[in-house]
Amino acid sequence: MRALAPAVLAALAFAGCQRETRDFRTDPPVLAALDDVAPLPNRIGGAPPDVYVALGQPYQANAYALSEGKRLYDGMNCKGCHADGGGGTGPALLDGWWRYGPDIVSLYVTLRDGRPRGMPSYADKLNSEQLWQVAAYVQTIGSYRAATAATSRNDQMQSRPSENRGPARAPLTEPPSR
């Protein structure tokens, strides 16, 4: 019986752990609410929608969401300009020095509305959840979010060291020359 108390306590503590949920379909009202971002007037940074916070920022630390983001990054031709983060016609993402900053809301707005220098809008191609997924994935390219969740390399041509290989990659300390 003495052994039972710690066991029950351990089980309770375990029960409090966060579950990794994978919803394959999100409710339409949530989808609508997820689009309710409030960017700052210069459209750099801002506040995420309430529902995003209420859901516990479900995209940035969820491996499934990140890999969905990666899949969309590939399928939506992001690679055509940004390659696998190294850039080309579009700016590089790997270095983490971004024109509109590292904030997830900036990324969301960038993807949804586009940016003047050639970045197209994806508002009519992706729903809000997908936009969040891509934004969260792009954030991991620039190493702004290390840690608890990451995608891994794809089964295709090796383009750069696997995302989760070795210790987390820190962003460059100096902006690269433009």
């Binding site: 590939d74 399928g75 939506m76 031709n77 992001c78 690679k79 055509g80 300009c81 390659a83 696998d84 983060g85 190294g86 850039g87 080309g88 016609t89 579009g90 700016p91 590089a92 993402l93 790997l94 270095d95 586009g114 003047p116 220098r117 050639g118 970045m119 197209p120 809008s121 191609k125 295709q156 041509m157 090796q158 383009s159 750069r160 060291p161 690269p176 020359s177 433009r178």
Partner: protein
Amino acid sequence: MGLKAYAFETSIRGALVAGALLGSQTARADPPALGLETIGRLELAWTFRTGNPRGHAGAPAVSGDSIFVLTPFPHALVALDLQGHERWRVVPDSDPRAEGLATGGGVTDGPVLAGGRLYLTTLDGHAMAVEAATGRVAWDRAVASLDAGETLRNAPLVQGGRVYVGSAGDDAGARGWLAALDSGTGRELWRRLSTGPDGEVGIGPQFRSAYPTEAGADLGVRTWPPEAWRQGGGSPGPILADAELGVVVYGTGHPAPWNPDQRPGSNRWTSGLFARDAATGAARWFTPTNPHDEHAYGAASPNLLVDRPWRGVDRKLLVHPDPNGFLQVLDRETGLILSAKPIVPTNAVSGLDAGSGAPVRADAKRTHADTMTRDICPAWTGPVLAEPALSAETGFVLLPTSRLCMDLEPRDSGVIPGTLSIGANVRLKVPAGPAGALVAWDLEREAPAWTAEEPLPLAGGVLATGGLAIYGTLDGRLKALDARSGRSLWEYRAPSGIIGRPVAFTGPDGRAYLAVLAGVGGPLGQAARGGIDVRDATAAGGLANAVRQAAYRDILGQGDESGSLLVFRLP
């Protein structure tokens, strides 16, 4: 020697004064002209910083005592006097969205001077005419649509009162076209596409191909999967004109998307050479060089028109350094391929089929969706990116070559407006040995006369004048060689890598000048300036992978914050 170079009027890239003929015509006993003896004394007169960091391709235009420079996007057209003082400047409105379609570093070319006017095209799709004397804009037409993924890269060709403009943007899934505008008003006279029904392509009764494979109705539709021709690519390369025959000649770009399995068929009329009636745009002939292009080669390389005897008969020739690595010599009256020899190490194509003119592809280097093919030579960039030149003194064709190879993995991709539907993973590679070379090609022997090896690929055009071959390198060296032997005679270290083409001219003061734009960029120089993260091997069309190799690493840091015009003068 029965040889005539179409150097200026028909110049592909718009320099009024270039090549040997002018040099020899304007030569006076004193002061000396640029030549083998005098080149050593050439000295820098002045430089002009353009303030634009992109790659500066092409050459400035020169007229009397004025030099005209069109900077890269966002463009400025600047007129300078021969002392380097700015006379006037025209800054066209620019649409920044064009940057998103600026593949390969987004280099542009121009301006072209004709009849006292400067003609230019802008990356964001405008064709313009500007009065050379005053800088007044005579007309300004939006001819290409960014919404459709179209941009304008090549300099216009001005001839016979018409301005010929070719679109770019096959990586964005745009259909390539060639348009003729009225040089006086900018009114569009005709526009012919590279894919689609015969009516839109301009295939009619005039069309006679040297090859039987090109006969048939609506090949531009039938050689594609249903509707695929609507985003089929095929953007024209640099345009040449032969006034005598009344034709314009150009190569068409690769079909879109890169993945060959998404577009089974021979994909007419991409990746081949077109000759069109200069007045109506009707096609005269088409010679495919890379049908059902599997390596994104296309055929849009800079060509040369040469008139010389061929196997004892005087012939009008088209010298076409095809991106698949073979230098092809065609009869430009019929489109018949007379000769095809590799100018760089190749393995994707082993030779040409005599009957159809089609390349014989090596099975080991064919590409398929989701399959990586390693070490395909040459790379998609092709062996010759910039203008070759004909050396009048020697008769050699001077070819600035690159010897890159690539790993290519085509993947399925859809066309999404505003994006580039390349869909392929590609890594460029520097094979063993030098990455570039200036090749002096002897048309007579169908073999190189000499080869000047370079550690980096050559991405700028060549100037042949006074028995010299003058060209710049990606690591910023401007070099002059003896065109007969390839012996190095003179070298100058520029502040940035060079992808432009030098021009030589004689000023009103009678002194010999040499001008060149420095400013590294373009598909082979893009990585020099930063903005590319080479940790991703596929960045910048795979260039990052090459830059990570020791042989190519010298290019890093060659970029300058601003391109510049360097003007040299003999004392």
